[in-house]
Chain length 377, copies 4
């Protein structure tokens, strides 16, 4: 693991998610750019001292030098955005498969370059867009793909948070500090942090691509350096249209990502706050409540759940599904077999590049007087 | 009553709403432009045959000719949009107070002219924007006005329906026929029918005004002549911003108007599908569930409910609140007293003119390549 | 109307419910046993002074003496329980049809006697068990009757309120005063006030009858004279069993009557707090959300709604359905025609007698050391 | 681990729960009474073959024989009920701490004996009553303990399942087979499987004890050998009363354990289907929505969550909390320190004995003609 030292949020989540299904064991880490912090973090995590490193360069070099059976197989990179590209490239070029926290990179240019590295090295890259890991999001995607909703016409995705409704920068809130810092987060704040999740969810479930957008981007809290709020009109492939909302100043909101999709024949509605439910709505008959763990669900939904209906699975399980599917893919390849379709169902470099294109396009549109801006990778 | 003959939807709703609190008695009507239909409708409603008229002109003339104590006092106009202006003007000029279904008129020009008539005649006009009649919408408005949410930053209003997700025009659906006909509905379809409700709700609760907007307007169903779907980015007074969504092609949706408002200090969330609940959200303490009928509510919310908490009040009660407040206002004036603030709380000519400005602006923006269009009355 | 003077709760509800559909006009009343209060109440309601009476005896006598076309047709009795029997008997014997608030009488003995009066006079009696008036309760009953749930095995009904969680007796709360007074309420408090509603709902929806019960009855608040809380195990016809809970000391609860019924093949779940939804659950496929106003509903559900899906109907509409169906029945009979099945769907004398049997049996069981007590009418 | 071989449900859950927080490593197992199945299961789990045993006796003997640093520390027993007591006693007497799936034993007599073994050996025993591991259940307990609800008056706990609404015995459903078999499950079916969870949750949150009960117990599905349904009236310490419902024949229900508690001053409502929410209700002010991960929660609630508010935690996390707290307790003791109060917060031998007393008492009451039966350990 690269990053994720003491006090980090997402690093701990990665560790929990990787541990859940027993597919991964944490054996080495460069947990901080500060060598002392890295050692202390490694010790807390019970790692062998010799495999806690002072820098990711050191880790990658020394692990590569170990006998194949004794070295790490997958590198998880859980650093702030500005430290994604370099360690990811080095890890790939050192022969490791990589799990990378989103967004893919600091900029679209880096993203394109990383895509070339992935292609050149032939290694696997997994991008942790958590929300696509939920069983009922899988069900939603399968439902759209089945054609039962007809051609998709409208898509609404929203991601309201409230935790940045005050100026947290300068406080002890480490998360707030880097996520609102252009030098570490990139060109976008809220749009990079959560807007890109909403964008990914929307494209994943519908199978459509955003082609043009019209963004209204705000920095609501005085003193903040990046956007903390935005709303975006969308034009999608297949003549669909939609709206994407992402805000971190909706005071009192937690983290309730929600997606609604309407086709010619019916609609679907999923929200993280009730993650084990997918509502499916029809014009002429009662709406259906589909539930995680039920036997009537699609293969994809059933593959990504662990317990029978009525045992709530949550955020960590969704996260773990991404890790698990990635492991199943790597294991199949190690065994010389083609991975199963269920295993290959994790976000990767393509989603990462599109995510970065979204971020740069939405910020550009926000600054533009033109109504519509093309999104192209 | 003008309009509302057999088979009409909103005419029946007006009658139920007016009857509920016993403040109105239906005594005369011109229920259809077809004299025969009017007579038949009047008979079904149990009216004296002599007070069922073949046209609104006839009704207004003959009622005006009756002794003051024996003539109608209030004229309800529940016709399609293209028959709002002329009867409203004539009724006002004939000395009657008027209840008018929304939107105010067929065009903004007519709306402005009607405003002048109201001013000139000194009669009262009440516009039935139903949704502002809900007790918990009153509570929402009182909460914003109290300042407890701080300065308002974000507003989201949405009105998803699915009943026009297929081409209903040409079927027996009388509602679909006129609402999608430019000759009867006006320049807008969904935006006039339900977008204007969403707009009114938003301005009513926040006390802010939409100043600029950026609209993406669609006619999704092939063969339809007016818009059936739209999304609008909003810039409001007080440096707030927002999103308005109105669609009639969200297959499977009923009628779930929803408003969310976020200020510096907290937020609120109301939706018609759970109309007796107002969620109030705070960053640092548990969200509150405020409920119709509770003793802790604002004066406005309590005034507009009839039963203790736990006895659901619905759409007809909300509609009836508008009629009731209008009646209380007219009764006070008849008694030579100033109406109470609670009585004066009904939508009127000003809301009507703003609604028509919204309709014309949103359609213009939809056709414009410019990002932002000014909304001015 | 008998009873329902100033400050009464249920009298006002009866007036709103009767007015809603325009089938009733309030023309006469004996609103209080205090003649002065009666006159004042009548004046407030806009009645002709000559038809506001000082006692129900006076009203019934004088109305009966009027020409048939000019006298009241239906007598609504909305007094406390101890003043149900005498005016109901007199009204029936004076040739009037009667609407009576529940429970039917002060005692089972009175109930049986009243049943004999109904049979002897041939007049109609309608008992306002409001909750059976909800459209989705009608749907629930139709669903059970259709056999789609299979044989019914389990029934859970609960009616939690919190308004008597403190000793309100002696305060200004007029409702609390008589409902907790054995001299006016009868042998039971909560069980008579709300337990009887739960009992009626359960028998109405399932079509089963409670045959034996085992009750645990409490007076929780010190100083109270009647029960304010109870739970009851039920044995029903058809080998079904169930639980009935009714309490008025569930501090913080409003009025959320809820019924769940499970058969061999599926289950249903309805609650007043979300009155326009009926959940229907199946073992092998997604649960369904059935909604008031939808076209796919049973005839009974559609007959008892006024607006399309998505326009919430509430408590007053449910109450009004009972009044409306009673009116439709009386109108059919006046026209010499058999009432339609939908019209005959209102609670009457039989439900009233069973309700009184429930009340007396449940209180007896609460005092008994025996486990099971027979319920017989 | 003892039990939990291929096809077992709860064994897999124990492994996921133990793995989540990285406090346990699975190193040895006797996964089945069939040695071959045990070996195959161990292989699938990636264990060293030398530590996969053919019987629990063999495992305990051989592990005890290993050097202290190399042997297992905690034994998880996840077998059917009839194989709880013997391995638990042997494990304790062999010097191991034990995690045991509920119910504690096959009979109350065994439970009392096991309690004596725990006392004699001084080892720790942890009983996995999962539902008390939820953060918002912790919050509920803390709220009651704080006295803010006043003296507790009423408790309602219900556990409706539908998975045994048909005769699953004889099908491939391994879970159904042993849970309905008196030889493996014990004297009770549903009451032992889920009733005991409901009982534990109720006593845990309220801090009260059930003193007397009156049970109505059914075997609803023809051909079944044990109860599959029951309802129980409760008398608790502190003059409280309540109702417990547990059924496995509520066709269409999943697993929605729910607890409601009402005191003199307010009430609380928690259900597993919305596990991250605790509703707190008050008579005179809005109900509160308390949420997992929020900063305003009690120490206990915060200790048992891993992610900030808005990241749903579920069943596995609740299960993991029990494992984690047990680990923290053992670690403290290993370090010679007193465990923190948060660490000691897991169910143990006392809860286990009370659970077995509940099971035997509730079945006895079901067979008794007496209304009330004493519950004594």
């Amino acid at each position: 693991m690269i990053g994720g030292g003491q006090g980090a949020f997402i690093g701990a989540v990665h560790r929990l998610a990787a541990a859940l299904d027993g597919q991964y064991e944490l054996v080495a880490g460069a947990f901080s750019s500060n060598a002392e912090t890295s050692r202390a973090s490694g010790q807390l995590l019970g790692l062998a001292p010799g495999r806690v490193y002072g820098s990711y360069q050191e880790m990658l070099a020394q692990e590569q030098a170990r006998p194949e059976a004794e070295r790490v197989q997958v590198i998880s990179i859980v650093t702030p955005n500005h430290v994604h590209f370099a360690p990811a490239r080095l890890a790939l070029e050192s022969g490791f498969d990589v799990v990378l926290d989103k967004p893919l990179t600091f900029s679209l240019a880096e993203a394109r370059e990383l895509a070339a590295v992935v292609a050149a090295t032939g290694r696997r890259l997994c991008l942790t867009h958590t929300y696509t890991g939920y069983p009922m999001v899988k069900e939603a995607r399968a439902l759209v793909a089945s054609g039962q909703l007809g051609r998709i016409r409208k898509v609404y995705v929203e991601y309201p948070q409230g935790w940045l409704s005050r100026l947290e920068e300068g406080s002890e809130n480490k998360q707030a500090a880097w996520r609102t810092d252009p030098a570490r987060s990139g060109v976008a704040g809220a749009m990079g942090d959560i807007g890109t999740h909403a964008f990914n969810l929307l494209e994943y479930v519908t199978g459509l691509q955003v082609e043009q957008l019209c963004a209204d981007i705000h920095t609501v809290v005085p003193g903040r350096l990046l956007d903390d709020d935005g709303a975006v009109l969308l034009r999608l492939s297949g003549a669909a249209s939609g709206v994407l909302v992402a805000t971190q100043v909706a005071a009192g909101e937690e983290n309730n990502l929600r997606l609604r999709v309407y086709g010619e024949l019916g609609g679907l509605d999923w929200q993280q706050a009730d993650a084990n439910t997918l509502l499916v709505k029809w014009p002429d008959r009662p709406a259906e409540i589909r539930r995680t763990g039920a036997a009537y669900l699609s293969t994809a939904a059933r593959h990504n759940a662990r317990t029978p209906a009525g045992h709530p699975e949550g955020y960590l399980e969704a996260f773990a599904n991404i890790y698990r599917n990635f492991a199943l893919t790597l294991q199949a390849e190690l065994a010389g077999q083609p991975p199963a379709p269920e295993a290959l169902d994790f976000p990767g470099i393509e989603e990462g590049v599109r995510g970065m294109a979204f971020i740069e396009t939405v910020i550009a549109s926000g600054r533009s007087a033109a109504k519509w801006t093309e999104l192209s990778v």
